[in-house]
Symmetry: C2
Subunit: 197 residues, 2 copies
Amino acid sequence: METTKNTRGRGRPRRFDPDEAVATATQLFHARGYDAVSVSEVTEALGINPPSFYSAFGSKLGLYTRILDRYAGTDAIPLADILRPDRPVAECLAALLEDAARRYAADGGAAGCMVVEGTRCSDAEAREAARAYNLAAEEAIRAFIAARHPRQAEQVTDFVATTMFGLSAKARGGHGLDQLLATARLAASAIGPALAE
Amino acid sequence: METTKNTRGRGRPRRFDPDEAVATATQLFHARGYDAVSVSEVTEALGINPPSFYSAFGSKLGLYTRILDRYAGTDAIPLADILRPDRPVAECLAALLEDAARRYAADGGAAGCMVVEGTRCSDAEAREAARAYNLAAEEAIRAFIAARHPRQAEQVTDFVATTMFGLSAKARGGHGLDQLLATARLAASAIGPALAE
DNA sequence: ATAATTTTATAATGGAAACTACAAAAAATA
DNA sequence: TATTTTTTGTAGTTTCCATTATAAAATTAT
């Protein structure tokens, strides 16, 4: 269960598990965003003191990169499962938007996509870190579309990505699951015709 | 040209025009967002000292409300001109999205909609101020649709608003005019069928 | 001119942010 | 048991933030 068990070197042992700390801090950053969460809030939530925090993560940005990395593996949309080469492209993209709507719906105060929201924060380095993950996801979508609809790949990818940004923003603004799903489906209805041209 | 000319009371005269100051500060807040702009940056850009700022605007939030008010009158989308009772609803909403795409395209570093971006800042009061303007705009759109398509008004308004949030976010993220326009048109293509149901 | 009024410039103030110096504490090794 | 290593807790530091106290300057009214 513990992935960062330090082969137990000598020194005084840690009183907290960094992986658990990352999971806990994820909730904070997802719920309120990188800018609005202070290191003191994190250390308080974790029950540790600043030096322990900095020795484990190096900086606020260091924690954030670990959070993003973990998020990509556990909470992010499973693109590989949704974008299937054996199903119609439009159908897969509809499933993608629907999955986004479901995930983004407020779930204990943490609405929207943490990566998408991260691309809009004020700290330049944190923003770029989040943008890298977002860019990778968009590239995957683009490549999936291009395999069968190369001419429309750019435009449809932009549309899907824009819709996802909108869904994330509206989820944060208070839209509920039903509203997000209806919007996702309405958006999806434009994709089939666009790919047929 | 000057709207705040103080009927020239007695005291020492102002060395700056508050209305001009609001216009100048608008660029800063639009380009970088409420959170990221500090009062010292504003006073420096205006060439004034903090006491002059606070005597004229009361607080950072006070300036922001004046900025939002001005923006609504000059830079915001002219809903009354675009949502015409004598043209098909779908056509008007397509024009609305296209107008948004054009306005949001980066224009000297200030991309996206200032109100939309303002609804996502960390300061609670500033966020609520921006949300009020955004809500008013969405209500206007909803009422326009409801007049002829009451059954679909909620859903289509949500879709249009979500698309506008996405366009604003993508404009800030670097999408150019062509990309934004193509996305706006693709989104618009879903509206006609949705209203026909 | 003198008084009243308002804005100005200088220089703080208090608070919160990210981060760190330092020494005591807790473990492994020798 | 003594040494080495790492983490811990306390208590800072520095920097930036929004905001303000104070008194001099510039204007109108008397």
